[in-house]
Symmetry: C2
Subunit: 359 residues, 2 copies
């Protein structure tokens, strides 16, 4: 039951990948615990600089000799109108004032800068020879993919539609993660024709699996052994779980965030563009409600993300969940307070139990 | 593998319910074929008058001695502003003119009328002693539910969230259909707090199953044996399939509609309020695109539905899929051109094959 194309490809015991959640949750302890338990731990390195990446890879290597992976954000061009910038800055100032602080908004990331960061991140991945490198928000160049593969690094892309899965295959990826509409955090959509593709996992997994030769990893709404087994039956060779690992002891998510997840329901998990300029799913709070009317007039990612960074940091310091980005999938009622290895063990037992049920 | 709480409750061989798609697709031939093949055929009677319902029940009884069911729409109060009515009428006239016709828009359904129709429909169900009666768009009174149950009629409600599932349980339903965001046709949401609840099946099925004692029937994105088995593993005792049966030989869907389904993809299945005033999922066409900018200013259901009825009828006569409501779920790539009994047989074989896969 546990031998799949993904366990073979990644050389792991169970086809369970801990989602690479950028911005803090994926501590070295979390990634190492998942890998030690037979899954694949991942570093969400999208917002990290080369030094931070080097450091975390070495920390994880001190904690496990099992394979683990890293995820990078593929940059793409963006442009904000003067009006969007003004709306974004006014809104950020307004919200910051509610937290008793004023911010200066002079520096915006620029396109070239993004590409430089991405190339530096890639360089670290190659230097360190990380076992697995996955990508979100687009496809790196075919040359970059080939470079990684020649170093024996497994490359995995992200897709939200069948067409995006096919583009990942064409680009030379070793596997593709298909992100159902249930998934927490940022939407990985990158095809301009379907920027808001919200395909449920029950539809996306079988249609993607039928359409590509690549092994498919299912993400979105999977929190336990039932979800894992259901995804396998629908055609996935493995699963990627984010929200499920957010509430584990080792996760770097803040305590107030973990508590919010453990007491939320599926209808509280909503889509918003307000934190980063890119569509993402999280628990509704004051920040989201206050941004509702203008969220489609805000600057695009990553400009809006930069604008709200100080606010989110401050809310964290103040332990105020109302102004944090509380990324969460739609299966949040199934979140559990466990260690990562306890969670892995439970998922495996639940899947085995569910398999017996339908014999 | 095939004995579930739903097969026992409904006295059928396989836990497969053909969705009661109102407006034409659920012919007597389709419902009877599904019941004869061991599933539960259903009449989508939401828009039918008592005579039509009597007639169809008798037709099906000539074709099968197996149980079958019927679905009714629970009315609720509604009110359109003068502005909404004007926008709706102007838009309907504009679209009708593209089809070379002008319509008169004098008569609107009224609240009392809706309740009278519903009570008459219920009366027929009781007189005929239909085996199963399901409800969409809300809950009938507890008295109505008790009346049906006393006559031995199995009652099934519809929910799009855990809270709605709990309300169905509280109302005394025998089972509840949980409609994932992948589902084609109208959203069955009825709780005013979450009017657009779009929970994916991968999230809705386990969370609803964990929360109610009632047997859960999963709907949304399920097209084959893989979907059936995955839903079972997630906690459902049965499945309801709509789009899968739309393209069968016996379905009353028009030929142009069937052909459109057989050539569409998951991203072409979009949400729209434009046909009826109520959110629904179907294949994007000219009608939807032309309504995009104003769809939130149109009158509510069922007024908008009445306004566009003539247009849809005319488009059907002209075999023009661009102005028909092409309801479809997100798994439309999996649609097949088969007879209903061939489809049933395939689903069962696929589920058995998928069960072997994970042994």
């Amino acid at each position: 039951m546990w031998k799949t194309k993904i366990t073979e490809l990644l050389q792991i015991n169970y086809p369970i990948i801990q989602a690479p959640m950028a911005g803090g949750p994926t501590t070295s302890e979390l990634a190492a615990a998942v890998s030690n338990a037979g899954g694949l731990g991942m570093i969400g390195a999208g917002y990290m600089n080369p030094e931070q990446i080097h450091k975390q890879i070495r920390e994880i290597r001190d904690l496990t000799d099992k394979p683990f992976g890293i995820n990078l954000f593929v940059p793409s061009s963006y442009k904000a109108s003067q009006e969007e910038l003004e709306i974004g800055i006014r809104h950020a100032r307004d919200i910051a004032s509610k937290l008793g602080k004023s911010f200066d908004y002079a520096d915006f990331p620029d396109y070239e800068g993004d590409y430089n960061v991405f190339n530096e991140q890639l360089q670290v991945v190659k230097e360190e020879g990380v076992a697995v490198c996955s990508f979100t928000f687009g496809l790196p160049s075919k040359e970059s993919i080939q470079d990684l593969k020649e170093l024996g690094i497994i490359v995995i892309g992200t897709a939200t539609t069948v067409d995006e899965a096919l583009l990942n295959e064409e680009a030379g990826m070793d596997a593709v993660t298909v992100q159902g509409s249930e998934a927490g955090g940022h939407r990985g959509a990158f095809k301009p024709e379907a920027p808001e593709s919200l395909i449920g996992s029950m539809s996306l997994i079988p249609q993607a699996s039928d359409s590509v030769q690549l092994p498919v990893i299912a993400a979105g709404g999977i929190m336990d052994g039932r979800g894992l087994l259901a995804a396998r039956i629908l055609g996935a060779e493995g699963v990627q779980m984010g929200t499920a690992f957010l509430t584990t002891k080792e996760s770097g998510a803040q305590q107030v965030y973990k508590e919010k997840l453990l007491s939320s329901t599926e209808t509280q998990s909503v889509l918003t563009r307000s934190f980063s300029g890119k569509l993402a799913r999280g628990i509704e709070n004051e920040f989201i409600r206050r941004s509702r009317d203008i969220e489609n007039s805000l600057p695009p990612y990553p400009i809006q993300n930069t604008l709200t960074k100080g606010i989110r940091k401050l809310a964290g310091e103040q332990k105020n969940p109302e102004y944090l980005s509380l990324w969460s999938g739609q299966s949040v009622r199934l979140a559990r307070k466990l260690t990562a290895s306890e969670l892995m063990e439970k998922i495996i037992k639940e899947a085995e139990k569910a398999a017996n049920l339908i014999k």
